[in-house]
């Protein structure tokens, strides 16, 4: 997890512990963050990351999360994962 100016960069293969850490970190700082970049070096490890990103987006609609906007991610392990955000 890297915080550079208004942009927070995270890894898509975060474990549950890391996601919890990320959540705790971002909660008090959400209003200062403009964008969350997700680096897709490894496959998704925990579906909670999708939930958290969706929750952040729902909380702050102008927060840019390009990864979430893609609405799908593919990997040889899981095939294609789509998410329907209802927004």
């Amino acid at each position: 997890m890297e915080f550079n100016g208004d942009v927070l960069t995270i890894d898509s293969s975060m474990s549950m512990e890391e996601i919890m850490e990320f959540e705790n970190f971002i909660r008090p700082r959400l209003e200062y963050i403009e964008m969350i970049e997700v680096v897709e070096e490894g496959a998704l490890k925990c579906s909670a990351l999708l939930s958290l990103l969706s929750s952040l987006k729902r909380t702050k609609s102008d927060l840019a999360i390009p990864f979430l906007d893609k609405r799908a991610v593919s990997s040889p392990e899981y095939g294609t994962i789509h998410w329907i955000c209802h927004d």
């Binding site: 899981y78 095939g79 955000c85």
Partner: protein, 700 residues
Amino acid sequence: MTKQEQVKAIFIEEAGEIIEKLDIDIIRFEENSGDFNLLNEIFRGVHTLKGNANAFGFTRLGEFVHHFEDVLDHYRSTKEGIEGDHLELFVGSVDVIKEVMVCELDAIEFLPESYGECLQNIKNLIAMKKGYSPVEELKQSIEISSNDLASEFGFGCDEEFESSVKNCVKHFQEMQEEGLYLYKIDLMLEEDCYKRGFDHLLFLKALGEKAKAIESFFDMKDVWVLDGFTSDVNAIKRVSIVVLTPLPSDDVHEIFEFLFENEYKIQIIETMKKSVEPLYPQDTSHGEKKTLVEKSAPSAETTSSSLVSSKSTIRIDTFKLDELFDSVGELVIAQNFIAQNEKIGEIEDESISRTIETLSKITKRIQDRVMSLRMVAIKDTFEKMKRVVRDTSKKTGKEVHLIIQGEDTEIDKTMIDSLSDPLIHIIRNAIDHGLEADANERALAGKSSNGSVTLKAFHKSGSIVISVSDDGRGINKERVFQKAIERGIINGDENLSDSQIFSLIMQPGFSTAEAISDLSGRGVGLDVVKTSIENLRGKIEIDSKEGTGTTFSMILPLTLAIIDGMLVQASGEIYIIPTLSVVESFRPEEEIVHTVQGKGEFVNLRGQNIPIIRLSDIFELSSQRIEPWEGILVCVETEAGRIAIMVDELVGRQQVVIKTLGKSLARLKEISGGAILGNGDIALILNVDELRPLDESVHV
């Protein structure tokens, strides 16, 4: 029974248990509406019921619980305080669920009147909570396309989600080749799934290993804003997976076997070439045509229900349990036979004696353990009575406080099932007639404004006593006595004890109620209660003190399979008299025995004339006729009053395993069963109520 019927039978049994639990939990929740853990539990029960109901085509039940679940979900998610009238709606909803379940099981076309009204109230409530009018909600549901209840089961309200999944299915159908199966799997993981070590991706990975193609669709609509969100609580309520794989159905089911059965649903999708037929014909009546065809997988169940779950308990057919119990009964008899065998007893060998002693101990232990399998705590039955008290209290307008004691007392499962109705009636009776009409009347009697009813279970002398006590006005003994004379139940010249007078209120057609209410006072109930308890080989005793209150005590045997009996001998034959009926046994003095012309022999016991019944006469045993004072009289309590059974001698008291009699002996109404004694002899168990005609009320 086909596999499908077996699964359905399991559903029906489980649904019954869930509904029974709902009935109890909803009252507990009404008492403490801040207990959100309990609300969660209620929600889970309703959720499981919904899944099962829809899976078996019980769509009317499914629809109702679906909306009820929505309301519960709202409150458990928001932890919002629940208003009194909404609590009332919850309680009413459980009633509707019970009634609709009966309609579904009996395939009754017409639903109970309360169904529509209650459903509409639920919809109104959820519409209000979600901030749109019921009309809008109705419009929404129409727009969504009729079958909103099935949203969680694959076809439903969210067009984008559904169309994405359907398109994927179509696409994969086109790709399907021989040796590949196409599955649509719905994952509905519980909130605590992460804590249980499960993640949606775990299942995707397991499926993905062998899959030719796999796509999944995560429904994020239930993800909350950050305030109501925690990452380690699963917020993704639905994930649909479409997978094309060579794995047969059994292997696919195996991947999900550690999940709860309501957390997943596996459907195998037919290839496009095959004919389209619905799995459950009832589903077609629901309005929406399914584009996907659900059909059973090669060798597994059609629904998600993985019947084997990793619980520490297993479900056993009570028939098998009865068989086991019978076998243990035989073992006890065989062991007794060895222990009492004279020839074996003559062998002076310490090792044989020790072995027989060990065998006896082990047999006793096995008997106790097998017996305990049938024993369940009476707690659930008592909990159900809270509802009865609540409803009766509301109907009568009397404030009632229910006190429960001894709810951990264990009782035979068969008896538990038959106890509810008698208990309900006695409790209603206690509130309706036992308690004073209002707080003013109680205040005049120097009592608190709230009446109290105490429900108590305890062991007493090898029996179980279940008592219902009220602190009401008590029974007016004189009035009961007069009423019994008016009704022709007694002549008026009898010398009856208090207990016998109180027992008159349980005679058919007896009622001292001024007005007949819909709760009690019909004059038939207590008679039925008495019969029900006697069918369980038990009896009812009434104790009452005017101005203080009344106690109904149901005295029941520990189990229906074993009876505590007094062994007696008459004309060389052994008979068993249920100990519960025995009042006393004695050798009478000649002076207290007399004969009344045309009515037979009587013994005057402390001023009460009790008819003497000779077993040798009843069973036409040929023996030398002896006088009553030469034999023993066993005084027993029967439906029609006390009788004295004349026997030659008392043999002893022992617990015997009840055996049913063959057809020819079953016609003998004086006999209720048989038992094999330790020496291998057979003894008949007397049905004391039939030893004297019921219409002989002279000696009540």
